[in-house]
Symmetry: C2
Subunit: 322 residues, 2 copies
């Protein structure tokens, strides 16, 4: 990598790439230029750090690249916006193998494409650990953003996508276990597949609030409850997942904990107006009422409510959810 040099590497990363239609000026100048047809854009940024958010012995570079883009795209979609472009700043040790760079960029481009966008620019610097900083943009197509602050008393809480599967995969990796029946959970941990279409193809005025599950269902619904000034009660019977309970039993773990507090699945959770018919892909899991906080079957949940970057043990114990 050192031998190739920054400019040759950037040339290699961008060679043959086809930019999305909304990219008016791609890489190669002081800045890129992106269309914002309705006169606004949404923007979000997430940084991933080696041995903190991913491990090169647990995930392939392609998987890590996909995950880095997916978690940012999920934040854009969680505003009710269509991903339009990404920029990526990459910090790499000078002895990073070219295969790693190629895999990361391959994965990033694959997920950017799945999200309907492209990578329009970036930065490449030397650092001690691998650091991936993604910034994602989205186009609201003239609609109002769907924030965390719009939940109303009486709304139905519903989820699109899976919960707890990334946590199950992480638990298996942490336990150092090897088991074929964890393949699906491992894949879910390595590459979350946020159901972008389940949101973007069903946007309606009945969807009052929305977020993606990145810190854990309880934590993320807590953000909606706080921002909206409401209480949320979940129905535990709607959250059962027999396949996940089977895996939990194998590790003496608690599937409900994975579902309620596991992050990184990047499912979408939102609240829909009372009486609105839920679109395909959405499953009801609870109800909004007056008050504050999040309960399960009417009871405040015990234990960890989710992920915070600076809480817990000092040692970076691997690819924990964020």
């Amino acid at each position: 990598m050192r031998e190739l040099g920054e400019f040759a590497l950037i040339e290699r990363i961008n060679r043959g790439r086809v930019q999305a239609p909304g990219v008016l000026l791609g890489p190669g100048d002081d800045a890129a230029m992106v269309a914002a047809p309705d006169g606004r854009f949404v923007v979000t940024t997430d940084m991933l750090v080696q041995d903190r958010h991913f491990r090169l012995d647990w995930s392939s570079p392609v998987d890590i690249g996909r995950k880095a883009v997916a978690q940012n795209a999920a934040d854009v979609v969680a505003m009710g916006a269509w991903p339009s472009a990404f920029v990526v700043a990459l910090g790499c040790p000078a002895d990073t193998a070219l295969d790693v760079i190629d895999g990361l960029t391959e994965g990033m481009w694959a997920e950017a494409t799945r999200a309907g966008a492209s990578i329009t620019g970036g930065d490449l610097v030397r650092s001690r650990d691998l650091v991936i900083s993604v910034t994602a943009f989205g186009d609201l197509r003239g609609r109002a953003p769907v924030t965390r602050a719009g939940a109303r008393v009486g709304d139905t809480v519903a989820v699109a996508g899976r919960l707890g599967w990334s946590a199950a995969g992480l638990a298996m990796l942490t336990a150092g276990a090897e088991a074929d029946d964890f393949a699906e959970a491992l894949a879910a941990h390595r590459v979350p597949q946020p159901p972008y279409a389940a949101v973007l193809e069903t946007l309606s005025d009945s969807l009052n609030s929305l977020t993606d599950v990145s810190d854990g269902l309880l934590a993320d619904l807590g953000h909606i409850a706080t921002a909206s000034g409401v209480a949320i009660d979940l129905d535990s019977s709607a959250l059962h997942d027999p396949a996940l309970e089977h895996l939990a039993a194998r590790l003496d773990a608690d599937a409900a904990q994975w579902i309620l507090s596991g992050g990184e699945d990047h499912a979408f959770v939102g609240t829909w107006s009372a009486g609105a018919e839920l679109p395909a892909g959405w499953v009801p899991i609870g109800r909004v009422s007056a008050g504050h906080g999040v309960t399960v079957d009417g009871v405040p949940p015990a234990g960890s409510a989710g992920w915070e970057s600076f809480s817990g043990a000092d040692s970076a114990s691997g690819s924990e959810p964020r």
Copy 2:
């Protein structure tokens, strides 16, 4: 820092901040929302890594924060765009002192404000080294972007802002010297002051190409020459700086080398149509002709042409230009 936790820290960072008018939705949701009145935005990103792009023993946290934002704002202005917003992803060791975080954010906000914008969102994660990843946005106000590709044969090459002063400050820090007469150079190294107004208040159809000097004058003009398919010749007599020559003599260094190859001053260099009167703040330094490459008094310059992230020695020897 660990004790305060991620969410409390983010709350602390954002408390009492006033967003710029173009920020339609600030921090606190899955994404922010920024105005793009003419239906487009420019975007650029730069990552700064501790002991590679800055040193905490050479610069204060406030200075580092200002520099991180200034170099991104300069890239936006170098497209002929008004800075509209910034997002910042920050990676910090868990034992980072609150003073450091407060200083960094203070500096970032100060420079964002000087550039006419604000910091609309970000991410905060734990990392082994301090890593600052800034993404900056700009508004072209209906004008075409001023790229590196627009230089024409006959254009006057001109510069707005100082050259070589950051390199002089870095040379003094590297030499471990102490001298009062370096105060100005030290300040220039610690906090570049790109002359945003010299560009934004003088934009005209006579300005054919533009970039900011981040890798060194020769390297950055090389990018314009390549992108435009032209040759550029500099007039060495226009580049003399007696004050810098005085400092160079103190260190047995070469002021011309600082001026031609020193990065990080974030002056602006552009090419203006032949015969156009240069606006206030711009100094002519050369001419565009047919051909390729950059020469000084008609001769290809010897030695280093600028900064590449992965060239040179393996050891990260401090705050080198990027």
